[in-house]
């Protein structure tokens, strides 16, 4: 794919052809990196530097996140082309006129033949949601007409991007798509892991670098480390998550602990994969845990239908009256306060917005935790009273 893109861009700049392409790939598959690489290579090629427009020195790309509006995009283009003083006070009838004017100005500034311009649009799918898709239409239009050699490259992570384009825009697009998939298998994954961790040859301390690299080699053959990597690989092939994992592991390296060990990687993996909701449940008070167990029972009995506070309170009362020895019977407002804390943590979510008319206790809610999550969390809950645990386990003996 690298070659493909390089060839495309070279043709634009050297031969003056206009083109358009889309680079599609899931998050973290290296689209931006690929593009940056290609641009770097391009600049190094001799024949290109004379033709290419000067403003490539900085980081000139239009991101869908920043340019949320066509007007904003146009202002940004003007600014990057450094044509503000030319545009000045002119009032343009339409977007197309504005763009055509800009390109005219560029042409006049240089030699007889116009300079090739490369438009890079990041987060392409966000541009598609603009009104009328005017920017896209005009850019693709210009790339089809033969005046200025213009290349438009879009980066996106949505596979169905072509369906989102309007018909007139789609017809002007050259339908050239470059797909980037993480299609390496596990062996290559391990190789990447080794390469990421090894220190480069220019590292100042030679002996340490040697020791470190040996250690990395040793680690990549260790069975436990391979297990850890296999786990991550099955979850996502994304290189970014590998990075995060390695960052976690590397943060354990200090002056006293200079080499990475397999235990570090295991600890990092455990931290990386913890269920965050289980962590939150770990920190709840006993009353709140009882409320969650009551909600779990209600879910089991009524098969997932939404409940309200009054029902939960009833269940709680039943538990207190029949089986609890360690729980004191709290008053209703105290239980209500615990319930509102759960709402604030977004473990329970109301089905509709609370209005002034309905009372708060009768608002229908649903629980955002799974019953297996609750049971797992209860196992690790510190100082859980045994009758609460038993109540959680027995489900239908209550009615």
């Amino acid at each position: 794919q690298h070659r493909h893109l390089l060839e495309l861009l070279r043709r634009t700049t050297v031969h003056g052809e206009s083109n358009s392409a889309l680079i599609i790939g899931p998050r973290g598959s290296g689209k931006t990196t690929l593009l940056n690489h290609v641009l770097k290579d391009l600049r190094e090629m001799k024949q290109v530097t004379e033709n290419l427009l000067e403003f490539f020195m900085k980081n000139p790309f239009l991101s869908g996140l920043l340019q949320t509006n066509d007007k904003v995009a146009l202002k940004e283009i003007t600014r990057q082309l450094q044509l503000e003083n030319v545009v000045g006070d002119k009032v343009f009838g339409s977007f197309a006129e504005n763009l055509a004017f800009l390109l005219e100005a560029l042409r006049r500034g240089n030699r007889t033949s116009s300079c090739p311009i490369l438009f890079v649009l990041d987060e392409f799918d966000l541009f598609v949601h603009h009104k009328n898709q005017t920017l896209l239409y005009n850019l693709f239009d210009i790339s089809q007409s033969a005046q200025t050699p213009v290349t438009v490259i879009g980066l996106t992570c949505r596979q169905d991007i072509l369906e989102l384009l309007e018909k007139r825009v789609k017809s002007r697009f050259s339908h050239r798509q470059i797909y980037l998939m993480n299609s390496f298998d596990f062996k290559e994954y391990i190789k990447i892991f080794k390469k990421q961790l090894s220190l480069p040859a220019e590292f100042p301390d030679e002996s340490f670098a040697q020791k470190w690299n040996n250690n990395v080699q040793h680690l990549s053959e260790d069975k436990t480390v391979q297990d850890v990597l296999q786990n991550l690989f099955h979850h996502t092939k994304d290189l970014r998550s590998l990075h995060l994992l390695l960052m976690l592991a590397l943060s354990a390296v200090t002056v006293h602990h200079p080499l990475l060990t397999a235990a570090d990687l295991q600890e990092a993996s455990r931290q990386h994969r913890t269920d965050s909701k289980a962590n939150i449940v770990h920190g709840l008070s006993v009353l709140e845990i009882c409320l969650i167990i009551a909600m779990k029972h209600l879910n089991d009995v009524y098969d997932g239908e939404p409940f309200n506070f009054q029902m939960v309170y009833n269940e709680f009362q039943k538990f207190i009256q029949r089986k609890a020895h360690s729980m004191y019977n709290f008053e209703k407002p105290v239980v209500m306060k615990a319930f509102e804390h759960l709402l604030q943590l977004e473990l329970v979510k109301p089905l509709e917005r609370p209005s002034a008319r309905a009372q708060r206790e009768y608002l229908l809610m649903k629980l955002l935790l799974d019953s297996s999550q609750i049971m797992d969390a209860l196992q690790v809950y510190p100082n859980c009273p045994t009758d609460v645990k038993q109540w959680a386990a027995s489900s239908l003996s209550w009615l």
């Binding site: 943060s251 008070s285 009054q310 407002p333 804390h341 943590l345 008319r357 009768y362």
Partner: protein, 433 residues
């Protein structure tokens, strides 16, 4: 707990830091190792989540100010629109660089302008490539703003090409934050909740100098014993500890017991704490009222909370109307005939109350009823004859204004207005006395 050490920061600073953040050493050391040295690029975004008052904001602030790292601290609840947020960040950047000079107001509408102005501001601050930290507290509000704010902040390092790290603090887990199309995943870190030992250690640090540390620890023990089941929030517990300590010390002050007489102190304070749970904990009465009560030594029964039922004084017929409305809301229509037409002599209200417990209508909330049914029930429960005068109807409307009844449906229904009763059983009981 390991001592904090890091080659880039002076040891004296780290020691001071350690004394300020008890029970959080491992989190701080993890953060320090991620931050690295001042010039090094750190992760583009960090997401820290943890329970209420588990110390996220406090630790972050102390860390950044003690080690004097350049930072901008913004609370997203205070600056709740994107424009306010971006302008505040830029203003703080400006003010910390220009010192005492006048800061000119910054206009920043969109993220595009923000990125441009941000680059300028960072350049003018002479940071010499040190990492700039932008800390956004209560980050769950970012979800409510425009859709591009959150992904843009997560990628800010890439978009501005500067050495900046964005730290997001929140109570809500990351899975609920993720936008639909995915975004740049931040490094998530969990601040675990304090265990009971930790809570004891932190609360005992605040002991007033007149009494010994052991005495105060015993008091904290008792307090935690009562309140730990219900709430683990450090801020609430501190508030309660401060309020009730004077009462706890009373026997010692009066000379009835000395510091070690734990049984007597416990007997003194226990009913007091139980009362506190119902009132101050629920914020029914304010803390100044509570302190005044302690001084007077008055009867706890005289407390008038915010939701006390004795506040509302209703005229004679209104009380009956409200009770009739409650009955109409919670009884199904077919039982009306059975309850109200047979005359058992004196129909006492308590009979009706017991029958209500059995229906499951209680759990689902009040049902709407038409006006005629209300009047019919009213006639049957009031002993003497009631004429349908305008007086009665106006009392119905005033009940609606008081929000004790609520109107269901539009104003111009053909069958007549329908109402719903919005008060609870306890309220009705209190009125019926």
């Amino acid at each position: 707990m390991p001592n904090l050490e890091h080659p880039a920061y002076p040891a004296a600073d780290l020691l001071h830091l350690e004394s300020l953040v008890p029970c959080r050493e491992s989190q701080v050391s993890m953060l320090l190792s991620i931050f690295g040295e001042r010039q090094q690029f750190s992760l583009p975004s960090i997401f820290i989540y943890g329970h209420t008052s588990s110390g996220k904001t406090y630790v972050m602030q102390t860390l950044l100010t003690t080690l004097q790292l350049p930072h901008v601290f913004v609370n997203c609840v205070e600056y709740f629109t994107s424009r306010l947020l971006l302008e505040e960040i830029l203003t703080q950047l400006q003010s910390s660089s220009s010192g005492t000079e006048q800061t000119c107001p910054v206009h920043c509408d969109t993220l595009n302008d923000f990125v441009r102005l941000f680059k300028q501001a960072v350049a003018s601050r002479e940071l010499q490539d040190q990492t700039l930290y932008i800390v956004l507290d209560r980050a769950e509000q970012l979800r409510e703003m425009e859709a591009n704010i959150l992904p843009a902040f997560l990628r800010l390092q890439e978009l501005t090409d500067r050495n900046v790290t964005v730290v997001l603090l929140s109570e809500i887990v990351w899975e609920l934050f993720r936008p639909n199309v995915g975004c740049f995943e931040p490094f998530t870190m969990y601040f675990p909740d304090y265990s009971i030992g930790h809570l004891q250690k932190i609360l005992s640090q605040n002991h007033p100098p007149e009494y010994s540390a052991d005495f105060y620890s015993a008091y904290i023990n008792i307090l935690l014993g009562v309140f730990y089941m219900v709430c683990r929030d450090l801020k609430e517990l501190q508030h309660l500890a401060a309020l009730n300590f004077a009462k706890y010390c009373e026997p010692v002050v009066r000379g009835e017991a000395n510091e070690r007489d734990t049984r007597k102190l416990w007997k003194n304070i226990e009913p007091h704490l139980k009362k506190a749970m119902q009132t101050v904990y629920l914020r029914e009465i304010s803390s100044s009222q509570w302190e005044r009560l302690q001084h007077d030594g008055g009867e706890p029964g005289q407390l008038k909370g915010l939701s006390a039922h004795t506040h509302v004084e209703l005229p004679y017929y209104s009380k009956f109307l409200l009770i009739a409305a409650y009955l109409a809301s919670y009884n199904p229509v077919r039982t009306d005939k059975r309850f109200f037409l047979k005359h058992h002599g004196k129909i006492r209200k308590t009979n009706f109350m017991k029958k209500h417990e059995k229906t499951s209508n209680h759990l689902l909330g009040p049902k709407p009823f038409p006006l005629d049914r209300l009047l019919a029930i009213l006639y049957s429960i009031v002993d003497n004859r009631v004429a349908p005068t305008a007086n009665i109807f106006s009392q119905i409307t005033s009940l609606v204004t008081l929000q004790l009844l609520s109107m269901v449906g539009q104003n111009d229904q053909l069958d007549g207005p329908r109402y719903k009763c919005t008060v609870s059983l306890d309220f009705i009981r209190a009125i019926a006395r």
